[in-house]
């Protein structure tokens, strides 16, 4: 993963060294107990056609905590992430088996409306994908399609302030979001997500297309947002997982005798344990850089 050239103009030097070069923190974030979990996942498998891409995943996601999902490419962590807001529904031939309960409601129950699900469980993607509309309209999009009745101007300002973007964009709300730098675009996408006032934010490698400075800003934002939102983040960047998350799930892929890869959850624990004293050798090998 090579950082893209800096896209962030007029940036004051960051107070602490940027993302990739920060020394690993010794103090990990303290995970709270998992009582009253937001998600309960049991025996989750995901199929693409006949291929079982992810097999038998069990985990619980804590309320207002950051859960990181790490692992080598092709281990199914993004696939699992996309189960939480039913984005896999949009992929033809994708099928989900097992249980995902959201506040003890079966997320894949017969009467569950995926649109309703996605308004409560937002998502930020790997590559910033702002709509080719103005900054204002990007934020206003979600509330508008959701039938928001209040004052949109206020909501836009509030949301952008919340996402620490207001000062940078307040004078150009009507200009195209595509004129922003990559890091600003990604923060706009986060802002767009919280404008719908979800409970959970899913992030699929949100920093992988960004330079270290933009990455650091997103990480700061994530920490701030975790006070109000439950965040699940898929990342390739182990330092990022160590820095921001309370709990970490480590995935890897088994190759069966037919040569097919099946993603598996190997270990799920408090981040401090995963990075200091993992119980599985594969986790240890991965975080110490021996494979993956």
């Amino acid at each position: 993963m090579s950082p893209t050239p800096s896209l962030e103009p007029d940036m004051p030097p960051p107070s602490d060294p940027p993302g990739g070069t920060r020394t690993p923190q010794v103090s990990y974030r303290q995970a709270r107990p998992l009582a009253g979990a937001v998600f309960e996942v049991g025996g989750l498998s995901v199929f693409y056609g006949d291929h079982e891409a992810v097999r038998d995943v069990n985990l619980s996601i804590g309320h207002r905590q950051i859960t990181a999902m790490i692992g080598p490419s092709g281990c199914g962590k993004s696939t699992v992430l996309r189960c939480f807001n039913r984005m896999n529904d949009l992929i033809p031939h994708a099928r989900v088996a097992g249980k995902i309960h959201y506040h003890s409601e079966d997320l894949y129950g017969r009467e569950v409306d995926p649109i309703e699900v996605r308004r409560r469980i937002g998502m930020v993607f790997q590559k910033p994908n702002p709509f080719p509309k103005s900054i204002y309209d990007n934020i206003a999009y979600g509330p508008r399609v959701g039938g928001f009745k209040g004052n949109l101007d206020d909501l836009v300002e509030e949301t952008l302030t919340h996402a620490a973007l207001w000062d940078e964009v307040k004078d150009k709300l009507k200009t195209s979001a595509l004129a922003l730098s990559g890091g600003q675009q990604q923060r706009l996408c986060i802002a767009r997500t919280i404008a719908v006032q979800p409970e959970v934010i899913l992030m699929d490698e949100p920093c992988s297309a960004l330079d270290p400075i933009a990455t650091a800003k997103i990480e700061d934002l994530m920490e701030k947002l975790a006070e109000e939102f439950t965040i699940i983040v898929v990342t390739h960047n182990m330092q990022q997982a160590a820095r921001v998350s309370h709990r970490t799930a480590f995935f890897t892929a088994d190759v069966d005798d037919k040569g097919e890869r099946h993603g598996r959850l190997i270990e799920y624990d408090e981040t401090s344990r995963i990075f200091s004293n993992p119980s599985d050798n594969r986790t240890e090998d991965y975080i110490s850089g021996r494979f993956g």
């Binding site: 949009l90 996605r118 998502m123 994908n129 702002p130 999009y141 399609v145 767009r192």
Partner: protein, 316 residues
């Protein structure tokens, strides 16, 4: 099996060893042929415009521009001749409008269905079938209008006055059917080209499929969609056979689609295959009407380019 041995090229040599070792005439020939191919269409267009100019200017030497553009009577080939082009322009506009009322909703609807709703299997079957519609000769559409649509309308008319045998409504309706594939196919291409990441973003914010289609995909594909509609309008304005057969050849200024009327193209066709003496005023009339048609299409294209620049959402 032995690997064929290739002797390494010598890295050094006499001065100028990097010069081309063989002349490549083929490259030049190909380039000339390709330029010629590109020029043919440009030169043809220029040639048509040039050919239109002298008879048109001759015509306006004999008939005033004001009389031509504002007159409401058209009987160019009869005695006494009247050269008011408005009846022809009006008929062209009315029939084109009817065609658009049919083609734009149906064409865009089909495009949105194919691009956003249909499974890939449905799409691969549906789209070629749709495009076959575009391959039906327009004379067939013309007779379909005259022999199927018009009788149907006349037999099942709910209001007072049934349409005449030749009428603008049938012609416009069938013309609309004719341009649906153009509008649908090109619009679908434009919508399919919108990046999937935008749809994902919209779905993740809790949009329904219709909201994704109309609020994200449609605006992002607008320039392509407008281009599709403009191409459809151009085909409608220039369409001759359907209107000549189904709308009749009687020039009259009327906005009643139930009446017969003659469009600009129908006049050109009728006069062109008639026995108008070369060089007569009637003959020059053909070119004058042709020039006006050309100008109208051109202006429409310019306007649509402006509109697209103003409203499209550039996604890359």
């Amino acid at each position: 099996m032995s690997v064929p041995q290739q002797r390494p090229r010598s890295a050094s040599g006499s001065p100028g060893f990097l010069k081309r070792s063989q002349p490549r005439y083929g490259e030049k020939v190909i380039k000339v042929l390709l330029v010629a191919a590109a020029l043919v269409s440009v030169l043809t267009t220029v040639g048509i415009v040039i050919a239109l100019v002298p008879p048109t200017s001759d015509f306006f030497g004999e008939v005033g521009l004001g009389e031509f553009l504002t007159g409401t009577e058209w009987s160019a080939l009869f005695n006494p001749p009247e050269f008011g082009v408005l009846p022809l322009v009006g008929a062209t506009l009315l029939i084109t409008l009817i065609a658009l009322v049919v083609a734009v909703p149906l064409g865009l609807g089909a495009a949105i269905y194919l691009s956003e709703y249909a499974s890939s299997r449905t799409r691969t079957v549906f789209k070629p079938v749709l495009e076959v519609l575009a391959g039906i000769p327009t004379v067939v559409y013309g007779f379909f209008a005259l022999k199927a649509i018009t009788p149907f309308l006349r037999d099942n008319w709910w209001f007072d006055q049934p349409p005449q045998i030749f009428n603008a409504l049938s012609a416009g309706f069938v013309m609309g059917i004719m341009i649906i594939p153009t509008v649908a196919s090109l619009s679908e291409d434009a919508m399919a080209a919108v990046p999937h990441a935008l749809r994902d973003g919209a779905f993740a914010l809790g949009s329904s499929r219709m909201q994704v289609s109309t609020r994200v995909v449609f605006p992002a594909a607008l320039s392509g969609i407008v281009a599709a509609v403009v191409l459809g309008i151009s085909r409608a304005i220039g369409e001759t056979m359907i209107v000549a057969i189904a709308a009749g050849l009687r020039p009259q200024l009327s906005w009643n689609p139930l009446e017969g009327m003659q469009t600009m193209t129908a006049f050109i066709a009728a006069a062109g295959i008639g026995d108008v003496p070369v060089g007569s005023t009637g003959y020059k009339t053909i070119f004058a009407v042709g020039s006006l048609l050309f100008v109208m299409t051109l202006v429409m294209n310019l306007i649509s380019i402006r509109l697209v620049r103003k409203y499209r959402e550039v996604y890359e």
